[in-house]
């Protein structure tokens, strides 16, 4: 009779014993808290999500970019305070031909990989060949299409890489021939798709087309940036430490950086509040107004190069009518959306391209004008919304998107007398619907890749994979193509400006606001400037541990 009690208590005993063993074995050491870390010069960074890869030629996201940019350096680096300006990276100097179509870079002599090898022009040729090789699935290969014959090589039409415009003239001199004049080339070069990879390391771990990513693991990774990959615990953290081979190592002040993949903004806030983070990647929307009031010392809102907008499916009635699209655009009170719904000091968008590009004039096209909106709708044949079909506003599952969609739909329905409904879909289903034009109105967002308006305007040309509205305009296509080849910046911007004017007159997309980056920052973090592209080169950051600087 007592046997079963013995069995159960024995079982419980072994569970407890197992637990104790696990507890004692622990999983390594604890992570330093914010105070200890500040004293040791270690930055604790909330980085949103788990990086999918650390291979710069396969990465596509913001999360990956933050880590990779600290591990690898391109020819041109990000400037510490202004994303419009170029900062020398591996290239110590460069010159362009008069029409800005041939660029020659002189690589610095002391540029080193983390294993001690010098960074050579051949390394760049190898990297760009890998990126453009038809056998390599580089999602950002398109970025390199400005190079002569790059697109043809990538598509397999040219098979000899010698015909592609990348050439190592000497060990430390790299020449890049472009398809045409590209005055904004230096800005493109900062993007991680242009980063070099270490040929010997790639070859030693499965070759250039190996998809397992073995070379990016901490024991194998070789980079040329200010930091080296010390440890990568998936779903826990990525730890970088200061590189002692980096050419500008004297400037690097942080001894290490922890990147934590924190997906939940409330968790991230609690981590910050309890001293486990110096920087967060976001702030729970509900906390923003209070923190702005009470904690201006930690609350940060910076302009960010991104546009929140709605796509309109112009292939079907009634949205094929520009008057209807215009009516919808003018019936939105963007100020109210930003102030009462989005809450993050976002900028109401009066055009598609966010403000902040040096020398680029943003067209003042959009505003809130309910009467004009009603008049336009009447002119389109739907006075007071009469006869207007029932439409659906599609958005992907998210509390934030829902609130904005609810507000916009009520503005449209109240002002225009139409009947718009909400339609919520899970992320991949939403993407699928959007790319098959299986929607009426769809939420969207776009973040710029580099500092040139073409990163926003290029996608609305006819048949572009990211157009997703069915919209097509010959003049627009012509202008964008011409802008890709313009010889001077002034001409380039003038063409883009005209293109954006057309886009904002035709309105296949209705911009709502320009993004801001909203985050918490420990006052001890120094060397940090608001950046439009949200790139904060780690080598300039440091932690000021003095008592008067401590705020949290």
């Amino acid at each position: 009779m007592k046997a079963w009690i013995g069995t159960i208590s024995g079982l419980a005993g072994s569970i407890i014993a197992l637990g104790l063993v696990l507890l004692q074995s622990g999983c390594g050491q604890g992570i330093p808290d914010a105070d200890t870390a500040a004293a040791e010069g270690i930055l604790l960074f909330g980085n949103g999500a788990e990086p999918k890869t650390l291979d710069p030629q396969r990465a596509t996201g913001v999360t990956e970019n933050r880590i990779i940019s600290a591990l690898v350096e391109g020819l041109i680096a990000y400037h510490p305070t202004d994303d419009n300006l170029p900062e020398p990276g591996v290239a110590e100097s460069w010159e362009a031909s008069e029409d800005a179509s041939v660029w020659t870079f002189r690589l610095r002599e002391d540029a080193r990989w983390s294993n001690g090898d010098p960074v050579t022009a051949e390394d760049f040729v190898y990297s760009y060949e890998r990126m453009l090789n038809p056998g390599f699935p580089g999602e950002y290969a398109q970025m390199l299409y400005v190079i002569e014959n790059a697109e043809a090589y990538n598509a397999g039409r040219v098979t000899d890489f010698a015909e592609v415009g990348v050439e190592a003239l000497e060990e430390r001199i790299l020449r890049i021939r472009l398809v045409g004049p590209t005055p904004y080339f230096l800005n493109m070069l900062k993007h991680y798709s242009w980063f070099p990879v270490h040929p010997a390391t790639i070859e030693a771990h499965g070759g250039p087309f190996d998809m397992s990513g073995a070379w990016t693991l901490p024991e194998n990774f070789v980079g040329n940036g200010a930091f080296v990959l010390e440890d990568w615990q998936p779903n826990q953290y990525v730890l970088l430490t200061r590189s002692d081979t980096y050419w500008d190592r004297e400037r690097t002040r942080l001894s290490g950086v922890y990147f934590f993949p924190v997906e939940d903004s409330n968790t991230e806030k609690r981590m910050f509040d309890s001293g486990l983070l110096h920087l967060t990647s976001t702030v729970p929307t509900n906390d923003i107004p209070r923190l702005k009031q009470e904690r201006p010392d930690i609350m940060n809102i910076d302009d960010y190069l991104g546009t929140y907008f709605y796509r309109l499916n112009v292939t079907q009635e009634p949205l094929d009518n520009p008057l209807v699209r215009k009516a919808l655009a003018f019936a939105i009170d963007r100020e109210a959306i930003v102030e009462r719904v989005a809450l993050g000091d976002q900028k109401p968008a009066h055009a598609f391209v966010p403000e902040g590009f040096m020398n680029y004039p943003s067209p003042e096209r959009l505003g809130y004008d309910p009467e004009q909106a009603q008049a336009l709708l009447a002119e389109a044949g739907y006075p007071g919304g009469e006869g207007f079909p029932e439409l659906y506003l599609l958005f992907n599952t998210s509390e934030g998107h829902r609130k904005i969609a609810e507000a916009i739909v009520s503005m449209w329905n109240d002002t225009l007398g139409i009947s718009m409904q909400l339609e919520n879909k899970e992320w991949k289903v939403y993407l699928d619907a959007q790319s098959h034009l299986d929607y009426d109105v769809a939420r969207a967002g776009w973040i710029g890749d580099y500092m040139d308006p073409i990163t926003f305007l290029g996608m609305f040309t006819t048949g572009n994979g990211n157009n997703d509205t069915g919209w097509s305009n010959e003049r627009y296509d012509f202008l964008i193509n011409a802008a890709r080849r313009s010889e001077s910046e002034a001409e380039h911007f003038a063409l883009l400006h005209e293109a954006e004017e057309i886009l904002m007159k035709e309105l296949p997309v209705v911009p709502l606001y320009w993004y801001t980056r909203i985050y918490l920052k420990d006052p001890r973090v120094r060397g940090w400037s608001p950046k439009l592209l949200d790139n904060h080169p780690m080598k300039y950051l440091y932690l000021d541990d003095r008592a008067d600087a401590a705020g949290n």
Binding site: W4, G19, L22, G30, K52, T53, T60, P234
Partner: protein, 306 residues
């Protein structure tokens, strides 16, 4: 007994095969694919990726290939992570197992005594108070309880880390969050089971014979009274051990629950299948275990078997 186990094992193998098949085709037919993103990649690059992972072949061929691969114990590469599915599960399952173990210990350690006391002192304060608390516990979802615990013990009191899975004390809050919710359920089930046994003739006989009350409870009632708890533990065990997406997200735990949910969102076909297979194995194993324990504990079942 051996025949019984053998029969159940054959059943389990069949069930798992069906689950693999259904899951395989369901994820393939869900809208979207692993490589769709807000910023679309060029068509020819996507085709290259699809070809690399064999996704360009007819679905039936893919299915055949997957089964072949599976037979070798290889769950394939993940489409969204640098690690293979085998590596991902090998790293995340022990974490979920440990968390689940602690949670189960808490759930049983708190739930069973409360349920027993409540049953023995039925309709007194010792019954009402804990049972009302248990009711609250059942109603309180983990996404409410977890943040409250983290806020109180992590942010306000500063005793424990609000997140992470680094030091031993990091186990406390997440295990409590899962454990307390299950403890509430177990307390109610224990109470119900105990009450049923307490009202039976053989208990009355034992008390009439003058057996001390505590002996009646411990040696006569408990054995039968805990049977419902044990049948509940089968599915609960699998659920607790395979991880909780919510709790793992709240506390930044590198467990299986997060992989399970995010792989479905990402259409990471191989990872979805890998987690589902592991989960199915767990449920089947847990149920089998419970059945065996029940046969051992319940003489009536044993009689039917023979």
């Amino acid at each position: 007994m051996f025949k019984f186990i053998a029969r159940r094992l054959v059943q389990a193998a069949f069930v798992i095969f069906v689950i693999i098949t259904v899951t395989f085709f369901m994820v393939r037919f869900a809208p979207g694919d692993p490589f769709s993103a807000e910023r679309k990649m060029p068509e020819h690059i996507k085709e290259r990726l699809m070809a690399h992972y064999g996704l360009d072949q007819p679905v039936l061929v893919q299915y055949g290939n997957y089964l072949k691969q599976l037979a070798r114990g290889d769950l394939g590469p993940s489409f969204t992570e640098t690690r293979s599915v085998n590596q991902i599960l090998a790293a995340s399952f022990p974490v979920s197992l440990e968390l689940g173990g602690w949670a189960l210990l808490i759930a049983l350690g708190i739930g069973m005594p409360i349920g027993i006391v409540a049953a023995v002192f039925r309709n007194t304060l010792a019954d009402y108070v804990p049972m009302s608390l248990a009711m609250i516990g059942i109603c309180l979802p983990t996404f409410v309880l977890g943040p409250i615990l983290a806020l109180v013990f992590g942010v306000w009191l500063g005793w424990l880390n609000v997140s992470g899975w680094f030091v031993p004390s990091d186990r406390i809050l997440p295990a409590l969050t899962i454990g307390l919710v299950y403890a509430a359920v177990i307390a109610r089930i224990t109470r119900g089971g105990m009450l049923e046994i307490l009202s039976q003739d053989f208990i009355r006989t034992a008390i009439a014979k003058g057996v001390p009350f505590w002996r009646v409870i411990v040696f006569h009632t408990l054995k039968g009274g805990l049977l419902p708890v044990i049948s509940f533990l089968g599915p609960a065990l699998a659920g607790i051990i395979s991880g909780s997406f919510v709790v793992e997200t709240i506390f930044q735990i590198p467990g299986m629950g997060r992989e399970f949910v995010s792989s479905a969102f990402d259409r990471d076909y191989t990872l979805v299948l890998g987690t589902v297979i592991l989960y199915a194995l767990l449920i089947t194993a847990a149920n089998l275990l419970v059945d065996i324990v029940q046969v051992v504990l319940n003489p009536r079942l044993r009689f039917e078997e023979s």
